[in-house]
């Protein structure tokens, strides 16, 4: 359950960004999460709610922009349909091991806030 720690970091970054622009109330934050980042989107959203609860930013939304890793097969090329497994996947077309690239994204991408409302 390290999602709680991640939610706290996301909140810190978002607050810092708002405060650097003169302050205000957080409306929403969008985070990019890759499918190899070891993060459960549902748990992260739950942890986010707990993080903002009871404060001035209570009710601020967290949007998770989920990014699949690229799956590359030496025979079939890039395979868009998700193969079973996480780090080791077999090509759904020919059953050879796939090379998996990317998917490790974990970034605060955009956010919205209302100025001076806090």
């Amino acid at each position: 359950m390290h999602e709680l720690g991640l939610a706290a970091e996301i909140f810190r970054i978002a607050r810092e960004t708002v405060d650097a622009r003169g302050g205000g109330r957080l409306e929403s934050v969008t985070v990019v999460v890759g499918d190899l980042a070891a993060v459960e989107p549902d748990l992260l959203e739950f942890a986010w709610k707990a993080t903002v609860a009871g404060g001035l930013d209570e009710g601020a939304k967290l949007h998770v922009d989920w990014r699949p890793a690229r799956q590359l097969c030496s025979s079939c090329g890039e395979v868009p349909e998700r193969a079973e497994g996480s780090w080791l996947r077999l090509c759904p077309r020919c059953r050879q091991p796939l090379r998996v690239e990317g998917g490790d994204e974990l970034e605060v991408r955009t956010m919205t806030f209302s100025e001076g409302a806090a």
């Binding site: 970091e9 622009r21 780090w87």
Partner: protein, 230 residues
């Protein structure tokens, strides 16, 4: 309502602390090993044996992450090396800032070592995501845990430079298919090293010590700047 393009890594604070640790360890030529495993797979026992075997030739030290008790650090101290406990108070992993803080508080005892062993909180999942400024991660898997673990916890076995199978003296008593584990690790991480040891019987321990000696020598020789990730 104002929309802002942020584009900042969620783990940026950890990454920045890890970079600063890498610079410190690079300057002092200290090899740093991050040990990750389930609770009870033998991290502390492996380090106790390592301390006894190598402490006369190298300056070694340990940081022990746990939710509660100072037991592990005390065990390493009794084995003859300086060690400090990091109590996470419930958190399931260590992060780079905790390592920085512990080293700052401990002062000279854990400075300028030949090798620092960071024993992470017993957990095969969360510690995988946090860079502690180490040179490499080692994952331990004891033979009593079962031979299906690499595929069940693929992230750590993909990222660890070495897999160490521990408690191999118990192999005759458990259904543990060593070759199946070796194959799973090779499939996940073709360049990973694979060791089979028993700290209790001493089997395979010489290979572990040789590996550490080789890496300590490498870290000492390596120009500090080349080790700092861009």
């Amino acid at each position: 309502m104002t929309e802002i393009d942020v584009r900042r890594k969620v783990l940026e604070a950890n990454a920045s602390a890890a970079r600063s640790l890498k610079e410190t360890f690079g300057a002092s030529g200290t090899l740093v090993v991050n040990l990750i495993s389930s609770p009870g797979s033998g991290k502390t026992t492996l380090l106790e044996a390592t301390a006894r075997a190598l402490k006369d030739r190298f300056r070694l030290g340990g940081l022990d992450g746990d939710i509660a008790t100072e037991r592990d650090a005390e065990r390493l101290q009794r084995a003859g090396i300086p060690a400090r406990q990091i109590l996470t108070g419930g958190a399931c992993h260590l992060d780079a800032r905790q390592v920085e803080k512990a080293l700052a508080e401990e002062g000279s005892q854990l400075a300028g070592l030949d090798a620092l062993f960071i024993e992470n909180v017993g957990n095969l999942i969360c510690p995988t995501s946090y860079d502690l400024g180490e040179d490499f991660k080692v994952v331990l898997l004891s033979v009593v845990e079962g031979d299906d673990k690499p595929f069940k916890y693929p992230a750590i076995f993909s990222r660890a430079a070495f897999t160490v199978v521990t408690k191999c003296d118990l192999l005759p008593h458990v259904d543990f298919d060593l070759s199946a584990v070796r194959e799973q690790v090779a499939a996940l991480n073709p360049s990973a090293g694979f060791l089979v040891v028993s700290a209790r019987s001493g089997e395979g321990m010489d290979a572990w010590y040789s590996l550490l000696e080789e890496k300590i020598a490498w870290k000492r020789e390596a120009p500090a700047a080349a080790l700092v990730a861009p």
